[in-house]
Structure formats: structure tokens, C-alpha cells
Amino acid sequence: MDLADLTAHELLTLISKREIAPKDVVKSCIDRIERCEPLIKAYLYIRDPEEIINSVREDMPYSAIPIAIKDNILVRGLPNTCASKILSNFIAPYNATVIEKLKEKSFNITGKTNLDEFAMGSSTENSAFGPTRNPWDLERVPGGSSGGSAASVAIGSSIWALGSDTGGSIRQPASFCGVVGLKPTYGTVSRYGLVAFASSLDQIGPITKDVTDCALLYSFINGHDPNDSTSLNVEPYRYSPLTGDIRGMKIGLIKELLVEGIDPSVERCIRDAVKTFQDLGAIVEEVSLPHISYSVPTYYILAPAEASSNLARFDGVRYGFRAGGKTAEEMMSNTRGEGFGPEVKRRIMLGTYVLSAGYYEAFYLKALKFRNLIAGDFKKAFERFDVLISPTSPILPFKLGEKVENPLEMYLSDICTIPINLAGLPAISIPCGFVNNLPVGLQIIGPVFSESRLFEVAYGFEQAMPFHKRRPQLGGNTYGV
């Protein structure tokens, strides 16, 4: 087992015991990048290995634990493409707030990871620079949109990573890549410097190899930011060692998310997880959230509407790609027509349509009402339950190209993760089994600000069923146990 296969907290312990040198970890990750990146393509930009090694500081332990950043989170001086042609030449002139926070601890950034263009998609196939592949099966997608970050953590080309989640973009790729991903409570992690997709839904979160790393990384990025008006001024989460004691805890299994089009093997894994929780002393019951089945249409009105406005700024005037044109207007239309990929254009068209005169009430306003109903369902459920569970994705990682032609089908597979963004809640995805050597993810959902509870429940499960210890095998090289 290489150092790149260990978790951050394991590595930190080894470093503090002086069993390994800080630079060894970084070198191990760089080695992994060199060996796996040509197959996986998790990164859109990798810093010069020399620089990464030279960024290690003996007095700053986190500088030894390489972190990968999704390429829609701005790191000053590094490219930020959002996997789009329209930002292909854009160099970030400032740091996102989360990056400022990481820099305080001298975090060592490996590079910027691949995503679906502007985080729109569930497979990382919508990248202008080519897809990322799933480390568990190179024929399959790593999920998306944070597919690069999830694949990188899974394969060890970084120890941990940041992603962003608008409708499942952290949790679903975490599930597909067999790693842990947290979508925090809306407003707990600053969005300043995250290229906006749908402002009322977006949230940055950690992607890690296990729950402890997830809690640790979350503790560094959460907290109030005066530069983000939607950032909450509440007591931030601080890491303390997890116990995993969930005895007496009431867990609700969301009925509606086990029915619609779910893969039977995924359902089996979830049923097994229920047993595990019961064995750990928790009480598990089914719970119905009657409006949750409206989440997908609600989301696919609200998110494109916000996106159509958020992406209006990419016009070739001040930065990014510029196409030709005799007039400013022509230049702007050409820039956007040539600069955006098909999925982004599709969503801009959809979003523009639902906001346009005569349709606002029928679509946008109605979707906001459903958002209220869906959030209300969760509120009610949390009167009875401490946490809720569901699959993270109703399906297993699918093959590249399998769903490209049918966007609606792809949208429907987001059913389990979307409602959580609509309600602004925290949810974590952890590995809960394997089917044909493909990972399956369990989603644990809590009320607002219940991240520490989610970590305990997830940690309890992880200790009982250590699926997180498995590592993908690549091209005959065996990494891991």
C-alpha cells in the first residue's frame, strides 16, 4: 500500500509520529498522478510537481496532504475553466473564500479537477476537455459534476478534494467512485469564488476517503463570510473525534426514493444498510415524503432559470473566450454560441424560457411553491426522525455515452440528491456496498446544521462496514487491501 492510498488523518498521524516525511506523501500522490492520470483524466490542470513538493512546510502539517480543487472554485493565479471553452484562457485573479481558508493552513493544492461544464451534469462527460473515467471501471463515468475530484480521491492522485453540489454534484460522484462526499447545509460554506450555477442551491463541500477526513476538511472550510450575503453567521462546526455511537437514534428510510426506477442491486445494498443501523442500536422506520417526487421538475425549472442569469456574464467582453463579430451584440452572441457546450446551452435556453414573459407564473413561481412543499415534507419528517436515509443514486455508475442522447433520463437519475438542495439541508454520501465491483452510495440526510450528527451516523456505519477501505484496481496494478 502506498501513502497515496491512506487517508489524511492516517497520514497526519504518521507524520506527527515522524514515521514518514511530509514530502513522501506529496511524492506518492505525484507518482500516482503520473501513473493514473493518463487513464482517468481527473485533472484539467496540474501544478508543476516541483512546486507542489516545494510547497511542503515542516511546520504546517496540511501542506503535506495534497488537495485537489474542482475547476469551478477560484484559486488565484491558476486557470479556472469550469470545463468550458468560454473560460478556456481564464486565470483566476482572486481566491475563493474557501481557498483563503485553506491557505491559512498552507494546504497544498495539486491542481484543478474536471467537471461537467459549469457543473451541469451527472457524469463529467459534459466537459469541453474530455470526460473523466471511473477508477473502478474505465468504461464507466465517475458521476458528476464533481467527477474529477471524486475520481482523484478514489485513485489517490490527491488525498482529499473540494467539490460543489447543486443537485447532487458532490454526493453522486462520491457514490460512483466509492468515496465520501458531503453537501453541507446551505449557507455554512461561503460561495464567494465558486462560479455560480444556481445560487440558491450551490454549496461547496469535501470529498474524502472516509468520514473522519470529511469532518476534518469540513471544519476548515465552513464558517461565516461577510463577502457572501447568504453565508450564515452561526457558530461554525469544529472537529472533534467521532465515536460512531448511534444507539437509540431514529432513522427514517425515505419510501419514495426506493421505488421509482431504482436498480434492484442498489436497493439491496440500502436494505443491508438498514440492518447494519439496526444492529448498531438505531431504530429504522420507513417515512413518506409525499412531495419528493416533484423534486426533479421543480429543480429543472429553478436551477436552469438561475443558471441562465448567472451565466449571462460570459459574453467575451471582459474575460474569457471571444468570438468574432462586427458589432458588440454579434460578438456576444457568437461568443456564447461557440463558447458554451450543448448541455449548458440547453439549460440556458430552458431557464430563459421559464423566466420569459407569460411563463414566469406557470413555471418559475410554481416551482418555488413546490420548493416550499418539499422543504415542508423534510421539516415534518425531522419532527420524528434524527436523520433520513436513501440511496445516493438509484443506479450504478453507467457507461460513457450511455445517457448523453437523452438529457431527461439523465435528469431523472438525480431524484435522490436534488430534494436535499431544494430544502437547503446537509447530506453525506458514504460507500455502503459493491455490486460487480462497482461502488454503491448511501445518503444520510439531516436537518439544518446537523453536520456533526451526520458524521456520527456515517462514522458508526463506516466502522461496522468498512467499504471505504477498498481501493480501485487499475490496469493490473493493485492498490489497497
Partner: protein
């Protein structure tokens, strides 16, 4: 046929905050291009707005001063349209919950006193500035953009179409300007673009209930242009209608040089701004305590000053001139605390002081005259120590150097001669030297008397008390 005119006015006023409305960039004029910018006002990816408290308070203050109801829950919307000077290609503005609604403003014209209803007062952000090479929109090779102005807080004040003449429009506009200036929220300089105005104009046959088709007038860049542009447009519409044709709903541009309005010939599609609530900002909750705290900060406005000044005995003309001049009215109010003859102060301020200020192109606060010095000057006249003429003579020194009038007259021996014996000897000398004139006077030529008085004043270098000279001269000549 007689026509009735309906004019609605939309004012955009740049607020005098120190920083922009959604970011901390300084608000300043004349800085080199794009030096007052940041990720937020450049619309860089990932940047987010944070609302300036002062801008909100200025908006509430103005809404209160314009008798508006305040929306307790005001939210911001995105107004989506593409234009290269709008960095995000949407403007953060307000839609169905503006800060103030249903206000009004009273105006007084030569004909009547009238109430103009105000539909809404809302807060939004300004755009950047486009500069066209060659100075024209059409035909230029390239356009240049400076985003220093992008994100400067703008207050939009929209009236109902209650204005029925260019004269009323100008009155409305100057009243709004004065209120903004008195509140200290805007400098009101139309020529510099810190206050901008658009008008929609329509005409209808007198007595008709339905409003006529309106045109929207843009590019009105001065108070002078307002009246002329509107008059031109009204005449144009009347001309069209009286020929049996129809007014087309369109945007028209005021061409200052050629004094006409021209159609903005453009392939302008119907506006579809796709307003929706700005998800990057949270709602504003404006409670009673906040409103009352701000209400208590509203200074006395021109309208109230006007009434008070009339009660002090000023003519409506004097009262209006003073009441609408912030600096002058403050000076006046300070002076009447020290000197109890408002009419006299007003007279001096509006005539002599105003003339001196005009010569210097200054407002009174930019000079060194103070209410104390003004009082001193007027008291010297009242006490008969100097004549009005001497007072006028030394006024420039008081204004420019802040010197005490009392000291000036003492140092230069300008104190009025009120000593009878001293004057008597001067009179004797004048009579002696002008025997022929004296003769004429005695024959009944009244004018000759004035000449003799003049001679006395000349010999005393204007220091003689004119009243006393008159009396003494009459007595001496018998």
C-alpha cells in the same frame, strides 16, 4: 381641438455613499478608467454582492421625504438584459417590492399648486460607461468600457403621468433635486450625470379618459433641456394627431444641438427583462424603529422652509429663492438667530451677497463670511455707523478674507460722520465753493440740492450720514 398633456418622469439619482452599493469599491469621479473596480462590480465569475447599509438608508430617507409608504419586506430582483456596460448582463434592481411606494410631491407653478403622485422609489446599481471612438454610437470602430461607475448606487424615482406641462416638469424636477440635495443623498448635478431623467409623454383630447400613446424621451441632460425637449415632443405629437395620424410608441432621443427629438431607430425587441428574486441577496426587513430613526434625521425640506420664511415676512419670491438654496438657507437660519430682521438679511443675501458669489462662482459655504460677520455688518448700518454704500464696499473683503466689518471700518477710518460740528464745517466749505449752485437752489431748482449733498458725500468719502447731511444742509440754506 384642445389637448391635454400627460408626462411621467423617471429620475435616476446617484447616491453620495462612500462605497458602491454591492461592493466596497470607492465612489469617485474622474479616476483613471477601471481603477475603481473589483470582482463584484466587474461581474467576475464567483463574485457575490453585499448590500451597502448607507445606500438603503438613503433610499428610505428619500422615500420618506417624498411621502412614500415603506415596504416592510423589500427584496431585490435581477433585471436581465444584455449590454456591454452591464457586467453581469443583469442589473440588481427592485421589482414588485420597491423600498417606497405611493408617495407624492407638491409643486407650485405660475398657475396653480398641484400634487404629483410618485409611483415608486427603488434602489439599484449603475452600469459602467461606454465610450465610442469618434464620439458617436453609430459608425465608430470600437467601443471602450470603463467600469468605475458600475455598481454606484442609483435611486430610481418614478412619477405617475400627472405632470401636464413642461413648466410643471421642470418644477417637479428641480423640487426633487432640491430634496435630494437637502437630504444629502445626491449632489443633483444633471449636467455631470449624477442625476438623470427620462420622460414619457402623451397627449389626449381634453376631457378624454384614456391616456394617449406615449413616447419615451431619453438623453435629457440638463434642467434647461427638460422644458425644451418636452415642448418639442408635445408639439410634434399634436402636429401628428391634428393631421389625423397616430403617435407611434417608441423611444426618442433628445438632440440637444439641433433642438429636436429623434427616433432611436433600432431593431429593439419587446423588453423581456425576466425579473426574478436575486438569490445572492437576502430580503430587507425594514421595521418601525428603523423607519422612525431615519425619519428623525430628515432635515427641514424646501417646502417647509418656504412656508416658514413667508411667516417671517419674506415675499413668496424671496422665500422660494432662499428655501431652495441649501447653503444660503442654512446661512439665513443661522443669521436670524443673531439678528432679528429677517427681511433685511434676506435682502442682503439675495441681492448683494448673491451677486458677489456669482462673480466668484462659489456657494456661500465656500467663502469666509459667517452669520456673525453678516450680523456685524447689518448692525453697523442699523447703528448708523456706516452707510449702505460703505457696507457694500467692504462686503467683498468680508467674503474673501473673513475680516470683521467693525475692524475694517475702524482701521480705514470709514466710520460714518455723525458729528454735527464736523459736518457743519464741510457743508460750509461746499456752500462756499458752489455759490452759483446755491443760488439756483434758492431760486427753486430742487436738483441742485441733490448736487450739494453729493458734494458733501464726496468730500467725506461717503462717510457722512446722508440723513444728517440732508437735515443740516436744509437748515444751513434756510
Amino acid at each position: 381641438m384642445e389637448y391635454e398633456v400627460n408626462i411621467g418622469i423617471e429620475i435616476h439619482a446617484e447616491l453620495l455613499t462612500k462605497s458602491k452599493v454591492f461592493c466596497s469599491c470607492p465612489v469617485q469621479f474622474g479616476a483613471p478608467p477601471n481603477t475603481l473596480t473589483c470582482p463584484v462590480c466587474l461581474g467576475l465569475p464567483g463574485a457575490l454582492p453585499v448590500l451597502n447599509k448607507k445606500a438603503v438608508e438613503y433610499a428610505i430617507l428619500t422615500a420618506l421625504a417624498l411621502n412614500c409608504k415603506i415596504n416592510r419586506n423589500a427584496i431585490f430582483h435581477r433585471k436581465n438584459y444584455f449590454y456591454p456596460d452591464l457586467p453581469k448582463n443583469y442589473q440588481i434592481s427592485q421589482y414588485d417590492t420597491p423600498i417606497g411606494v405611493q408617495g407624492f410631491l407638491e409643486i407650485e407653478t405660475s398657475k396653480e399648486r398641484k400634487r404629483i403622485r410618485i409611483r415608486r422609489v427603488h434602489l439599484e446599481e449603475d452600469t459602467g460607461k461606454l465610450i465610442h471612438s469618434g464620439g458617436r454610437i453609430t459608425g465608430s470602430d470600437m467601443s471602450f468600457i470603463d467600469f468605475n461607475r458600475s455598481g454606484v448606487p442609483l435611486l430610481e424615482i418614478v412619477s405617475e403621468p400627472d405632470i401636464s406641462s413642461p413648466e410643471e416638469a421642470k418644477e417637479y424636477l428641480t423640487n426633487i433635486r432640491d430634496i435630494l440635495v437637502f437630504l444629502g443623498v445626491c449632489d443633483g448635478k444633471m449636467e455631470e450625470g449624477s442625476m438623470r431623467c427620462e420622460a414619457n409623454v402623451s397627449i389626449r383630447p381634453k376631457g378624454s379618459e384614456k391616456l394617449g400613446t406615449k413616447t419615451e424621451l431619453k438623453n435629457i441632460n440638463s434642467f434647461r433641456a427638460v422644458e425644451r425637449a418636452l415642448q418639442y415632443e408635445i408639439d410634434r405629437q399634436i402636429d401628428i394627431v391634428s393631421k389625423g395620424k397616430e403617435v407611434i410608441q417608441e423611444t426618442r432621443h433628445w438632440d440637444e444641438k439641433n433642438e429636436r427629438t429623434i427616433s432611436m431607430r433600432s431593431k429593439e425587441e419587446a423588453h423581456d427583462y425576466r425579473y426574478f428574486p436575486e438569490p445572492d441577496l437576502v430580503p430587507l426587513e425594514i421595521d418601525d424603529a428603523w423607519i422612525e430613526r431615519l425619519r428623525s434625521q430628515i432635515p427641514e425640506l424646501p417646502e417647509e422652509k418656504y412656508e416658514r420664511y413667508k411667516d417671517l415676512g419674506l415675499t413668496p419670491y424671496e422665500a422660494k429663492l432662499l428655501a431652495h438654496d441649501l447653503e444660503m438657507s442654512i446661512f439665513f437660519d443661522e443669521t436670524i438667530k443673531l439678528y432679528n430682521n429677517p427681511k433685511n438679511i434676506a435682502n442682503w443675501l439675495l441681492v448683494d451677497v448673491t451677486k458677489e458669489l456669482k462673480d466668484r462662482n462659489k456657494v456661500i459655504t465656500q467663502t469666509l463670511i459667517t452669520p456673525q460677520l453678516m450680523t456685524e455688518l447689518l448692525t453697523l448700518i442699523d447703528e448708523g455707523r456706516i452707510s449702505g454704500r460703505i457696507a457694500k464696499e467692504i462686503l467683498p473683503e468680508v467674503i474673501d478674507k473673513g475680516l470683521s466689518p467693525r475692524k475694517i471700518i475702524e482701521e480705514r477710518n470709514l466710520v460714518q460722520i455723525t458729528d454735527v460740528s464736523e459736518l457743519a464745517s464741510v457743508i460750509e466749505q461746499v456752500i462756499k465753493e458752489n455759490a452759483s449752485v446755491v443760488e439756483e437752489y434758492k431760486k427753486g431748482k430742487e436738483k441742485s440740492f441733490m448736487f450739494l449733498v453729493g458734494q458733501v458725500m464726496k468730500l467725506t468719502k461717503g462717510k457722512a450720514n446722508p440723513k444728517l447731511v440732508n437735515e443740516l444742509l436744509k437748515k444751513t440754506l434756510g
